[in-house]
């Protein structure tokens, strides 16, 4: 029982937090700009590498360097929007999908060119887990990740419900024409969406880097689970994305638990397939997602 909790459920929740943070950005971009942003995963990688460089330069703790990296990444993402997405605002959305597909490869190859492809660690050394109630073990970094995710989620919630721009974002996601008619500045909403998506992506990436390591394919590997989380929660629903992320993260980790006999239910090599299976099942039976998101 304790083994289940320590080695499957807790890592699942941690992974779920990371997916959830990434999926909010995907869900918002899909809701407001109406396209699937394939470059989101590699935006995350970019943010992590900027954090890594900041740590090397200043020796800050990853969590202290992350906000600076968020600001830098947001600026870069706004620049990319201006260069590669803005020309297609009035075109068919598929043009933006193709552009994001190209941008995904461009960001990744730029990272590989400047930083190389070797693995990095955000924090050196191996931490010992805290032991509570004799057999419950939890790694300090896991506490940190879960705690920081909760704080970020609260911030997102307050931003979306209490601020003017947050309300404008939700309105645009629900009905863009109606929102524009009421005098909401669509371009401003779009910029806010990019900034918010980028900041959360950087946070997710840094958490993943803390949990495992930093590599150039990390963002791409997260792309599918993040899409699955966004679709599971309902496109355009940030709270749905959070729930979707948690479900997918936990499901992935639990798929390796020996439910029947002593062998893992699913060989660990196929863990990445779990998110995909959930996504396809949702697309077939409930494309609007659990929380009645937009259905295209």
């Amino acid at each position: 029982m304790m083994e289940f909790l320590n080695f499957y459920l807790i890592p699942g929740v941690v992974l779920g937090c990371i997916y959830a943070l990434g999926a909010i950005g995907i869900s918002l971009t899909f809701g407001i700009l109406r396209f699937s942003n394939f470059a989101h995963g590699d935006t995350m990688t970019l943010g992590v590498y900027i954090t890594l460089s900041l740590i090397h330069l200043t020796g800050l703790h990853p969590l202290a360097a992350a906000p600076v990296a968020m600001a830098v990444t947001s600026g870069l993402v706004l620049g990319m929007d201006r260069l590669f997405f803005k020309p297609f605002r009035q075109s068919a959305t598929i043009m933006m999908v193709i552009a994001s597909f190209g941008l995904m490869l461009m960001i990744r190859s730029a990272i590989q060119f400047f930083w190389g492809v070797q693995l990095h660690a955000l924090q050196p050394g191996i931490a010992r887990p805290w032991v509570l109630f004799e057999s419950f073990r939890i790694l300090p970094k896991h506490v940190l990740i879960i705690g920081a995710t909760v704080v970020l989620m609260m911030a997102v919630h307050l931003l979306l419900t209490r601020t003017k721009i947050g309300k404008a974002m939700r309105a645009t996601s629900d009905n863009p024409e109606l929102a524009a008619l009421t005098g909401i500045d669509t371009e401003q909403v779009i910029r806010a969406t990019w900034v918010m998506g980028a900041c959360l992506a950087v946070a997710a990436g840094v958490f993943l880097g803390l949990d495992t390591h930093v590599e150039t394919m990390m963002g791409f590997k997260l792309l599918l689970p993040m899409f699955a989380a966004a679709i599971l929660g309902g496109i355009g629903k940030p709270y749905g994305a959070v729930a979707g992320g948690l479900v997918i993260g936990i499901a992935e980790e639990l798929s390796a638990y020996p439910w029947i006999g002593t062998e893992p239910l699913l060989p660990p090599g196929y863990k990445a397939g779990v998110a995909f299976a959930i996504m396809v099942a949702m697309l077939i039976w409930r494309p609007q997602g659990l929380f009645r998101g937009r259905q295209f």
């Binding site: 959305t93 190209g102 490869l105 190859s109 679709i231 397939g273 995909f276 396809v280």
Partner: protein, 346 residues
Amino acid sequence: MEQYYGLFVYGLSLFTMGGIYAVMALGLNVQWGFTGLFNAGIAGFFAVGAYTQAILTTPICRDHLGCYGVSIPLAMLVAMVFSAGVAWAIARICIRLRSDYLAIATIGIAEILRLVFKNEIWATNGPRGVSQIPKAFETLPAPWNALAFLAMVAAAVGVIYIALERARSAPWGRVMTAIRENETAAAAAGKNVESFRLESFVIGSALMGLGGALMAQYLKQIDPNVSDPLTATFLVWVMLVAGGSANNKGAVLGAMLLYAVWSASELLSTRFLMLLSSDSIGALTHAEAGEWSIRFAYLRVFIIGLILQVILQMRPQGILPEVRPKPHPRRGGDRAPGITQGRKSS
């Protein structure tokens, strides 16, 4: 003389690889150009074809499946059928999804297929892959084997091109265009949109499988990285978009051109680094040059991505834009031009 021979051999490899990519670009053209299906999992269908070819023909089977002794042409046919089969199964589930969703679903399928090829070591030898794959005409003497292989690839491109040109101007192709342009209208005209989309997806994927079968022979070895989304999927996409979607000539031209850019940039960057690290200049040590050559490989991907962005914004129709077939004059009745005469489907 020696130098010209080297150039000749390089030219052969350039056209052979370009031709193999042209087969895949034509396949994508059926899906995206004709019907508007966004397949972001080209690598997956390509890998199914490549592995089928490899496993059916390889005479060695110590570490993986093999020793079936299937002849090369038959294996290529089976590779197409397998790719088509995988595509059919996927299309049954995903074909009615909106283009974005289809893109995500296909990217996921390519990723899962890669996992299968990597993890099922008993069948595929896992990450080490399958090597010593028999290649057509390899028993011929030196330049002739490469020439004969090129001729085979060229014949494949030619046959596919002619078949697709006919399909494009036939009622079948017109229905595809109708579906791409306005699905609802096509459905209202009595076309079974889903089954037409499925046909298009399966045919395109079979061609990608053929591309994989040809590539497996040409390279003589494959590993799970052949389904690396980068080289397979992305390059084929840029080829089609650059050449001109929905134009078969454009697909072939784009494949040749982009592969030439891809290959030439590799050659130039290697030469440039060799020059810098040579004894007379000595700007770089050999180890540094090695590291830079790896980095230049990423720069090439960046440039290909940039080419895609520039074409999308400056010339979205590609080098050779789509040419719609002229409407056939209809016997015995006046009919407004431009109306798609599709076949009835029930």
